[in-house]
């Protein structure tokens, strides 16, 4: 039975919201260029561009943020705000060591302790470090301020720890405690619920996952990850026209996974030529992203090369880079899978030993 929340919170239509987001963001860039001292501009730029990357798969946002961070570090490296922004950008690009160094400098320079803690927790969570401590701090944050921005990372952490029921409760709480009319919070919570049911549970419930992905896309039609995951479910059920409609809706996003899934769609319908063409495009897009932000896309690209990309050697290389950057359970599993795909038994054995030592998990 599908766990539902009715009614879902009201929100501004996703297309209207997106238009406003882009309009306001363009203005914030104008302000940064012309009135760089304006309070709030840097935060608005960071939030706006991060939203473009997270929700709309617009990874050129990372290029712009990298440029912004470099500009600030060049001109005002002695300001806490510059170091903090640079740390947030580094973390978004999965340059965690660099992010930690910048965050330390920001702290010394007097950055807001709450903002420092927020980013510290995100980095620790991404690295899979001290997760129980992170959990306690995230729960404290939620008690102090029950917002989607606090609740959803808590849910994600609970999911990382395998506490799926608790994670679901927290996501539902995030959904029902949504304030205002922004569709971002509700869409994000719905996506996380879909991901929980579709990707994380030992026995996925695709019906439940589709229900939540559908809501995420309804809130925000350009929500690329949600559209792609929902398309995958339709594809699995041979509902090709639905999958096609969804993938086309986010084709311009810049996320190569859209092309990868489109290739699977063509292949499932017997059009191997079109499928190959899409794989070639996806490969070029992944390599382009890797050339600019390798660590941010190493795991996704590794998954691609293990799948439709048909290049296990490249997958292994990327997954090991990813593992070297953050030795999470998932990173071990991915590298192990890649090593197996290449037939490099020594690497397989070493990864198995290391994963058992660090996480107590074994691979069959």
């Amino acid at each position: 039975m599908i766990e539902v929340l009715e009614p879902l919170p009201e929100a501004t239509d996703g297309e209207l919201f997106t238009l406003n987001l882009r309009s306001s963001l363009a203005h914030q860039w104008f302000l940064f260029q012309n009135y760089p001292e304006r309070a709030g501009v840097l935060d608005s730029l960071l939030d706006g561009e991060s939203n473009l990357a997270q929700f709309f798969g617009d990874y050129t946002a990372l290029d712009r943020l990298e440029g912004l961070a470099n500009t600030l570090l060049h001109a005002h490296s002695g300001l806490a705000s510059s170091q903090l922004l640079a740390a947030r950008v580094s973390a978004a690009r999965h340059l965690f060591l660099q992010a930690k160094q910048q965050l330390s400098r920001a702290e010394v320079l007097g950055a807001n302790p709450q903002e420092v803690l927020r980013l510290q927790l995100s980095i620790q969570q991404a690295l899979g470090v001290d997760l129980e401590k992170v959990l306690a701090q995230r729960e404290t944050q939620v008690k102090q301020n029950q917002t989607a921005e606090n609740l959803i990372p808590l849910g994600a952490l609970l999911a990382d720890l395998g506490r799926y029921e608790a994670a679901q409760e927290v996501y539902l709480e995030a959904l029902s405690s949504s304030v205002g009319l922004s569709p971002l919070g509700p869409a994000w919570a719905c996506f996380q619920l879909g991901y929980l049911w579709g990707e994380l549970q030992a026995e996925p419930d695709l019906e439940q996952a589709a229900y939540w992905y559908e809501h995420a896309v309804n809130y925000l039609p350009g929500y690329t990850h949600a559209a792609v995951h929902l398309a995958e479910i339709h594809l699995e059920k041979s509902e090709y026209s639905d999958a096609h409609r969804l993938l086309l809706s986010v084709l311009q996003s810049g996320d190569p996974e859209v092309r990868w899934r489109l290739s699977e769609l063509w292949a499932a319908q017997g059009d191997q030529t079109a499928a190959t063409a899409e794989i070639e495009i996806a490969t070029a897009m992944y390599e382009d992203l890797l050339s600019r932000h390798e660590l941010a896309f190493a795991d996704h690209a590794a998954e691609f090369y293990l799948g439709g990309g048909l290049n296990p050697e490249r997958a292994l290389q990327l997954s090991l880079n990813n593992l070297n950057n953050r030795a999470t359970k998932r990173a071990y599993a991915l590298a192990h899978e890649a090593a197996q795909a290449t037939g490099q038994q020594e690497v397989v054995a070493k990864l198995s030993r290391d994963a058992m030592a660090k996480w107590g998990v074994g691979y069959d």
Partner: protein, 501 residues
């Protein structure tokens, strides 16, 4: 800032964040009243309204119920509500930058629903043409020149910003008959469009009466809880709930006392301070349509009433009123000392004298700039690129000039068969600088180019800059057109004169 960014609920979706409220009689016809509410700070150039919110301007009759230390304004009678609602985007027949447009409506106090198209400067009329309404992106009329922490004066902090404006112009006699009184209060509010027991929504997202009730007044007490979101959910024209009234009273007292101390003197005696608190707790903008509403009349009705004397103006708030400096002066010295004039003396654009009264949106200019360093003397290069009729770019197939001197036109036939017409704006041989504007041929307007030759160690630099705003095509396409033009042309100069290492 007046009411900009005053709580988490409104910043999550800024289209429900009310920024300002204005009420004034039409400059050329005092029998008509203009009411304006603005939302969406930093709206950019292509903002739209939420389809899930009500945007309301509400007028109610008001009477002066007490003077001096008993100063009070009491609202009474029916609420006269103008309620705007907006749709999702729909395809439009208008070609151009936005392939879709937003429609909406304004429901009048009579129940008539007046349809409107967002951004249509002509606005829409009620059936009997007594009411005219507008909604769309406009230049932010608010201006502020104080940094609150240290009262440092700075230029307008909202320069070049846009907001979404909602405008209602009406016949006073028809909707607010003077026979029943001439004093009114007005508020604007944003609230959920869908309501009821099945809805999770709060009753209201934001509301605004007098300027700065939330930011400059409620949010300036150090180390205090942010009450703005709680305030925004209270019901205008109603008494505060008994359990909350003391909380807001204390916050106003703390705030007013801090303001009073800013000049090192005490200008507010306890009784006057109490009266001010009581007036402010009833937060609506007071205006009297029988008296002149001018740029200086903001808060005059409240001030005079607290001072225990009859007011002399129509109060209200005009678009160009120096709201912040008027307010700050009153808060600091109760108008008994200097006027606190900041460096901000007007908004980016002043208000218009005619409908829709809010100035058009500010547009940003984009820029493409390229430069090359050449192994040639500046004069040698200038003798080529400084000639307005010289076809030195390989993209030019032919060039024909009409007229002479500044103002002359050149008609360029490009190698790919397009025609571009450009006007010479200036030619400075001493500074080796030529500026021109594009009249037609490239999808941008305005489009201003500058070519400059500057001496360098190894020869000279040619710097070519184009400031433009895309028109009729997307940003990326226009940028590519201009980039290609500059790059290929300057590359030809490199080939001709040699490139510096």
């Amino acid at each position: 800032m007046s009411d900009h960014i005053d709580g988490p609920r409104t910043t999550a979706d800024p289209t429900i964040d009310l920024t300002d409220l204005f009420a004034f009689t039409k400059p050329a016809d005092p029998t008509r009243l203009v009411l304006i509410a603005d939302v969406f700070p930093f709206a950019g150039e292509t903002g739209v309204f939420s389809n899930a919110a009500n945007y309301s301007i509400i007028v109610r009759r008001v009477k002066v119920a007490g003077l001096g230390i008993n100063a009070k304004f009491e609202s009474y009678g029916d609420q006269i509500r103008f309620n705007f609602q907006f749709d999702t985007l729909k395809p439009t027949e208008l070609s151009g930058v936005n392939p879709k447009s937003q429609s909406g409506s304004c429901t009048l106090p009579t129940g008539e629903v007046v349809p409107l198209v967002v951004g249509d400067e002509q606005g829409s009329y009620s059936k009997d043409r007594s009411i005219r309404v507008f909604a769309g992106v406009r230049s932010d009329p608010f201006y502020i020149g104080w940094l609150l922490n240290n009262m440092k004066s700075v230029p307008n902090y909202l320069q070049d910003d846009n907001v979404m404006g909602l405008v209602v112009e009406l016949n006073i006699d028809q909707f607010l008959p003077l026979s029943q009184g001439s004093v009114f209060g007005v508020v604007a509010e944003t609230s959920p469009r869908k309501r009821g027991p099945e809805s999770l929504a709060v009753p209201r997202y934001d509301w605004v009466g007098r300027p700065e009730q939330t930011n400059f007044i409620m949010n300036v007490v150090p180390d205090s809880v942010d009450l703005r979101d709680l305030w925004n959910q209270q019901t205008p024209f109603q008494s505060l709930p008994p359990e909350l009234a003391p909380l807001f009273q204390k916050r106003l007292r703390d705030s007013f006392e801090l303001w009073d101390k800013r000049d090192g003197e005490v200008n507010w005696d306890p009784a006057a301070l109490n009266a001010h608190i009581n007036v402010r707790l009833d937060d609506f903008l007071v205006f009297d349509v029988s008296k002149p509403i001018t740029n200086d009349s903001l808060l005059e009705i409240e001030k005079s009433t607290i001072a225990g004397k009859p007011y002399t103006t129509g109060g209200g708030r005009t678009i160009d009123a120096n709201s912040i400096d008027i307010l700050v002066t009153y808060l600091i010295n109760r108008d008994q000392g200097k006027f606190y004039q900041s460096m901000a003396t007007q908004a980016t654009q002043p208000g218009l004298t005619t409908f829709p009264y809010l100035a058009p949106p500010n547009k940003k200019m984009l820029q493409v700039s390229h430069q090359v360093e050449l192994l040639a003397k500046p004069a040698q290069v200038w003798s080529l690129v400084g000639q307005f009729d010289s076809a030195w770019s390989p993209l030019i197939a032919s060039i024909r000039v009409t007229g002479s001197g500044v103002g002359q036109l050149r008609e360029i036939e490009t190698v790919d068969g397009k025609t571009i017409v450009e006007r010479l704006e200036s030619l400075d041989a001493m500074k080796q600088t030529l500026t021109y504007s594009m009249v037609s041929g490239i999808p941008a307007k305005p489009y201003n180019g500058k070519i400059q030759v500057v001496p360098s160690d190894s020869g000279c630099l040619v710097i070519w800059t184009v400031d433009y705003r895309p028109s009729g095509q997307g940003e990326l396409i226009v940028r590519l057109i201009i980039q290609s033009l500059l790059e290929r042309s300057l590359k030809a100069l490199q080939e001709k004169f040699g490139q510096a290492k």
